[in-house]
Symmetry: C2
Subunit: 356 residues, 2 copies
Amino acid sequence: MHCLGELKKKLKADGVDGFLVTSEINVRYVTNFTGNESILLITPGHDYLFTDFRYAEQAQLDVPWAKIAVKKVSLIKTICGRLKRLNVKKLYVESSHLTFSQYLEIKECMERIKLVPTKGIIEYYRERKTQEEIEKIEKAIVVAEKAYLEIRKKIRVGVSEKYLSDILEFEIRKQGGLRSSFETICVAGSRASQPHARATDRKIQEKEAVLIDWGATFQSYNSDLTRVVFKDRISRKFEKIYQIVLDAQRFAIECVKPGIKAKDVDYAARSYIESKGYGECFGHGLGHGVGQEVHEYPVINKRSKEVLAAGMVFTVEPGIYIPGWGGIRIEDIVLVTKDGCNVLSRLPKSLKDIQI
Amino acid sequence: MHCLGELKKKLKADGVDGFLVTSEINVRYVTNFTGNESILLITPGHDYLFTDFRYAEQAQLDVPWAKIAVKKVSLIKTICGRLKRLNVKKLYVESSHLTFSQYLEIKECMERIKLVPTKGIIEYYRERKTQEEIEKIEKAIVVAEKAYLEIRKKIRVGVSEKYLSDILEFEIRKQGGLRSSFETICVAGSRASQPHARATDRKIQEKEAVLIDWGATFQSYNSDLTRVVFKDRISRKFEKIYQIVLDAQRFAIECVKPGIKAKDVDYAARSYIESKGYGECFGHGLGHGVGQEVHEYPVINKRSKEVLAAGMVFTVEPGIYIPGWGGIRIEDIVLVTKDGCNVLSRLPKSLKDIQI
């Protein structure tokens, strides 16, 4: 992968003997290896992929440039054996992806090794998508959108939330997706006030809005979208709140470009919702990066310290949730371009469009 | 949940002020709360569930006996605030489910707190299934079996591996399952030599065996099964190796009962496969517990230190894998009873049965 050379340079420059990549997704990003429970050791010299018997054959095929080591007793013990032979004294670890138990196990094997906690080294590269990655995300979006348009036809009174999410899963696969990128949220009526409620066997009633938050995985890349639809005539209250959320989303998207602080994008939507008196009803962040993970960097919320850069891909998903009444969220995916942004998702979302 | 009282007693007896449960599944086991990214603090007095805005409403409904705290900045900081107010000096942590970064964050907030690494405290209870849990696993098995029987009819030359796994997913949901319990392994021909290969768009060819490893999730509980099927006449070599795997599985199942060492069950299958000259071709453990996780305790392999006890539910899945030729694995789920075991899964598997 393109970042490997830079990582090796960084290790040399920082005077570190190796970098233990324990995040499964980061291992996949660097190696394209899709097996689970495998750990990558990058050193200024050779690189080593530690895996188990199940993936030994696949690892040889997928990562010919690394030395493949198959664990005997425990992956960490196999790794420590290698670290000793390489005389590694100072090792970068991914502190958010190394368990306390793995930390203790390494320290037990190698008393004098210095484990330097790091955060976001590979995530820095993952945040800035290559053209190839953007195309895969676009494909993941198209798959999700096509699948949605199919099931949208089937939304009617008496159909259950779970049935809709089950056929959505099937359509995603039929359209060429690997699967849903997460468990579809498909909730009707007042249940939509729980931003992450599960789809249940509950049947859609008359005059209920349906909130669907779904996505597709295409070649390890994901999409994540939300739409609200309404079968009958929309109530005044619903209309008013929907328009507030839609405008908030537009204000946020309008300010996306390189050099802008992520928290300012959040602020654009949040301050508008607050000005309309619904600040308390928008309790989550505005968005999150999407790529090999459904939730990744950049984080778009009021505490984010990130500055937008070209190649970043993230969701913009303001919402208003009122317990006992329901909830509205509108979610699209944007790409930061050289001088602004492209909205990659294209499903219509005006008040007129959300009526079936 | 039934273990909460015992856990509180244990904390008192061990002179520990609290137990921080960071494993999502363990939190779910103790609380029945299905939201993600939530952490439970058990103390001899009150208990606290730390979650975020998305799940606040659901947490109140699901866990009325705990105090619900919604995170502001970070979950760990919110927890540390509570630990300070409770004057917690010695805290049990789940070392396999606490990240190095969370460990560092707690230590930074509370210099003097003693974090005691523990392993398997809640897993001990999870290993021993209650009648209610067994019934859910049985349901997850029945769902998986019914779905399999539907797609078995569709196995023929020219159908792709991925198509089969896609319709299997749909059938699982149609039969009342929440979803597949993991990404279905559906591989044909020589690809089956990779024990965990992904289903691809590759179409099934003549004279190829198809290996399907799949499971269903039903109310948070899982199943995990494997069958090999053959469309044409079975080759002599295939027949011979299949029978070895089948006999190995039978020998293993025959020795399952309370008091037996898990590694002896593994040995029963492994030594037989070795005696037939295929020892090198069976590189993984014999089985694993199944419950709220697809892979959980007990571990059934040659290094396992566990002793079987009534209520344990695990897979028995010997396999023989020959690179370039293919692979055979047969997987069923057994329950350890008071004086022996019940095989909970019922799909036929004789040489005759695997020919379509």
